[in-house]
Amino acid sequence: MIPAAFAYARPTTIEEALQAIADGGDDVKVLAGGQSLIPVMRLRLAAPETVVDLTRVAELRGVCEDGDHLVIGAMTTHHDILVDPLIAAYGALIAEATETVADPAVRHRGTFGGALAHADPAGDLPAVALALDAEFVIAGPGGARRTVAAADFFVDYLTTALEDGELLVEVRVPKLGAEWGVRYEKFNRVAQAWSIVAVAAAVRHEAGRIVEARIALTNMGPTPIRAKATEAALIGVDVSLETVTAAAAQAAVGTSPSSDLNAQADYREHLAQVLTKRAVLAAAGI
């Protein structure tokens, strides 16, 4: 199918993009990689009046460092992430999850910012951003900037803290050094890359003892969610199959998974526990 007609703007700077959004009428959609928006428009589930294409806004694309943070431009593609040396050095969890997203052709177009702004509960990057305590830098009409913590960015199913007229500019992610182990553990159908459930884990450990654990779950509710009970249970624990299994048994506490064609809610709870166990053990080097 073909999308409904729309007016098209192709700005080259953030300032021009914000202006194009402001001038675009009541229903404006920002187009990043288009790998979610174009399919949705083809099915006429969205029929915006104006589409503002960000692909030529060069200042939105790329990864740089700012002290102890990585700064990832919203228009950095999934493929860019996978070949970026800074991501390889300090953002291994992002790279691991990104490698599981879709397929090479989709990763050439789809963007880091688009995947986060889309906020699909089965999308892989929201849980990673939540596990890493990322910060979202948002520009509003006139160019004013505000920063939103990951915990406040994901509001509901396909809904984020982004307001009409706003643009996600970049995401700031704390660098993880060598004392951290990470793992993205995902369960999906072979012919479809979307997660049924997945677990993003980052574990800081010293001499076999866990000092800090950050664990976020994909598709265990309308938004990504931290496995807080498991995180707390892991602190100070000597890593072993028994201790990690016991802590991971609490992974689904506080979640609200849905039942759909892929899995019932209770099966998702089971998956969350099993995948959390595997992710933590792998992140802790076992």
């Binding site: 073909i2 999308p3 288009g34 052709a105």
Partner: protein, 169 residues
Amino acid sequence: MTQITVRVDGVSYTDDVEPRTLLVHHLREQLGKVGTVVGCDTSNCGACTVHLDGQSVKSCTVLAVQADGSEVTTIEGVAEGGVLHPVQKAFHEMHGLQCGFCTPGMIMASIDLLKENPSPSELEIREGIEGNLCRCTGYQNIVRAVQQAAGEMGSHGTHTAPETTGAQA
């Protein structure tokens, strides 16, 4: 209407398009490049894969206006001077197709894979073409075709003995 100029298979075309026109429809309907096909409505099948500025993309999930000023290569542009591209030749020789509907996309995805990874393992081949669905072959001979092409391209055009176990005469 928006005017766009796109270089497709080495030839530059300037046309007026509606912003909502998908790149695949522009290629097929306006430029007559019907070698690239549409297999699904959900961005899943990869039959429409082309190269946009050297990278594989699903041309049903790119707007034609987004290709303005860019270089597009389709399955119709990979043979040179009437000589099949090594990947095309390998799909032919290794029976990497049955109905052939997925083949244009499979070949474009495979060329892109071999550009990034000239000697992929079997697993890397399967992952490299995971965005391309084939309903006929069971993928076995497609993987063999990509392996043969990798061997041939790796030896700079000199033909290495292909592993022919999957081919049925």
